[in-house]
Symmetry: C2
Subunit: 349 residues, 2 copies
């Protein structure tokens, strides 16, 4: 990260100390990047190379471990397909899985607003526990803080996780090579649209459920089948497009995608049209990309098809000629994918 | 924790699902206990024995590791002796130190309120980094969320930490034995009173600074000198009294304290009198108790005196006859210490 490669030409202008925080600073797009590059990276200059990723790998004497944290501020707390508790567990387990690691233990920090109903807290804690059981991980420590009425929004959850790295080679954007295949684990856009539908009270003909789920099983299967995994990334805030742009920039490569290979279920497509949203930028909580050598592409797709009928080879890594770009073949021609500059869907996780 | 020993006679009545959250649920007293025993412990029934403590020890193949988390919601963000950034780092490092562990790496999660000044964020991040440098630990991963104006209070920090256990024997309330010595590392009450003074705009003759500091050096020194450490506990929310009551109940012992041996600096004593607060219940962020065999007591005090002139032997562990009680010899007679039932100082950490 001190070699300058992390400051690609598209790097945003420096953060201005006179600025104030906007919702878009938490959206995963350009403004989030500006906070990271302008403030956090210089401050934590000893941080790992891939500071834009959501987990870090460290050594503690018994083989590499992975460490991650996320705060969850999703609204509403309960939505079709999950709630803030399942989201916290799966989000944390998935950040570890994207480091090639199995979760060993979780911590949970609660920031409660005065007046929050204990019955709702109980529901969240129960589903958090069930999600941890389903993912085979234990909550071992925690903390509770309470803030005054009007200083919170019911409940925020901060979760951290420690995992054991099971991948035998490094998984990181820097491992990605021109010629590699880009494999997508399933259809995209369900989590973000489930949240939007719940929030806006939209009654679509077919209810959209979040795809919120732990991703360690498909990752384990890829590794067990001997697929040489170069990079993994779950498609949370900013969706597929943002994840691929980040990998391309960090790995100094370009990417060509085939839009026709990327599945969006019909209710999600319809909801996106109504709301004027682009499914390529909508968040997922149970979907990821794996970047693998071309020779392993078919095997990777076959493995991921055990978990989702919509797993597919969606594109190819190219050499970057100057800037790292991500472009997509569409029916109408070629489309360039850019980082979002504003906030598309606030508080979806 | 399933043997019933963690549900002493003083155990609070079960949590009512019709309740709503009050500030006191975050205060570290009876209501916090009720949340833990009534909701979190049953949900996370596989959690370690000492679930009321702030860290957990787990195995990952290379010797025991410790894991902890805390959310920080302190008001004001900046106070004499520190800010929310130094507090987060030292609080996390200290939770690990109390497990007999050296911090290896930290994660930082930020929940920012829309409109928060980037200049203030920069100040906090800078002091957070300096505190991490001072404690010899690295921030390796993080996350930022932004909530709408009126749904937060400027900045909350969620921090988690992983540490390597350097103690060769188990450090836990269950290791405490009748006859053990109770050693206090310094004077008490400074953090809580510094916060209260800053919040209330009180201009005391002598400014009170928080004692916020990392505690790993004195813990390392105790272990290096061969002191057999049975239990360690930093004196945060709820102060000295709450920490000792929790240890006594978890270890099923009683304790006798000598009030005259417990140092409270004059400005803290004066401020407590003005505000009607009891220094034994006021939070500290750089002070702890060590419970050690009687034969190691003098050595432990000598070691801790290298770090504070107010380190002292303050009491003795007794066999519990029925209930676990903590009593204190005072000038006027004997005083029994109880868990606080309400909230003394909201949002001091």
């Amino acid at each position: 990260m001190n070699d300058g490669s992390m400051f690609p030409p598209q790097c945003p202008v420096p953060l201005d100390t006179d600025d104030t925080i906007e919702l878009a600073h938490g959206g995963g797009g350009m403004k989030t990047r500006r906070l990271i590059e302008g403030l956090f990276r210089p401050a934590f200059a000893h941080a790992p190379d891939d500071f834009t990723h959501d987990g870090a790998v460290f050594e503690a004497g018994g083989g590499p471990l992975a460490f991650t944290t996320d705060s969850y501020v999703v609204r509403p707390l309960f939505f079709p397909g999950g709630d803030i508790g399942t989201l916290a567990v799966n989000g944390t387990v998935n950040d570890l899985a994207m480091c090639g690691a199995e979760a060993l233990c979780l911590s949970v920090g609660l920031v409660l607003e005065e007046g929050f109903a204990v019955g709702q807290l109980r529901r969240v804690v129960d589903s958090l526990r069930q999600a941890a059981d389903a993912a085979g991980v234990r909550v071992v420590t925690g903390d509770t803080k309470v803030v005054e009425r009007g200083k919170g929004d019911g409940l925020y959850i901060a979760m951290a996780g420690v995992g054991r790295v099971i991948a035998s080679s490094r998984i990181a954007p820097q491992q990605v090579r021109p010629g590699d295949a880009i494999v997508l684990s399933g259809d995209i856009g369900r989590h973000g649209m489930a949240i939007m539908a719940a929030r806006e009270g939209l009654g679509f003909e077919t209810a959209i459920e979040s795809d919120c789920a732990p991703l360690i099983d498909p990752v384990r299967a890829l590794l067990a089948e001997g697929v040489e995994v170069h990079c993994l990334r779950d498609l949370t805030r900013g969706g597929l497009a943002t994840a691929l742009i980040e990998i391309a920039e960090a790995g100094q490569v370009s990417m060509s995608l085939d839009q026709g290979a990327i599945h969006v279920i019909e209710p999600v497509r319809g909801a996106c049209e109504i709301l004027g949203l682009d499914p390529f930028y909508v968040a997922n909580e149970g979907c990821f990309v794996a970047i693998v050598p071309q020779r392993d592409a078919a095997r990777a797709v076959a493995v991921l098809c055990r978990f989702s009928g919509h797993a597919a080879l969606i594109g190819r890594v190219e050499a970057a000629e100057g800037a790292a770009i991500v472009q997509m073949d569409t029916i109408g021609g070629m489309r360039m994918l850019d980082m979002l500059s504003g906030e598309q869907l606030p508080r979806i996780c």
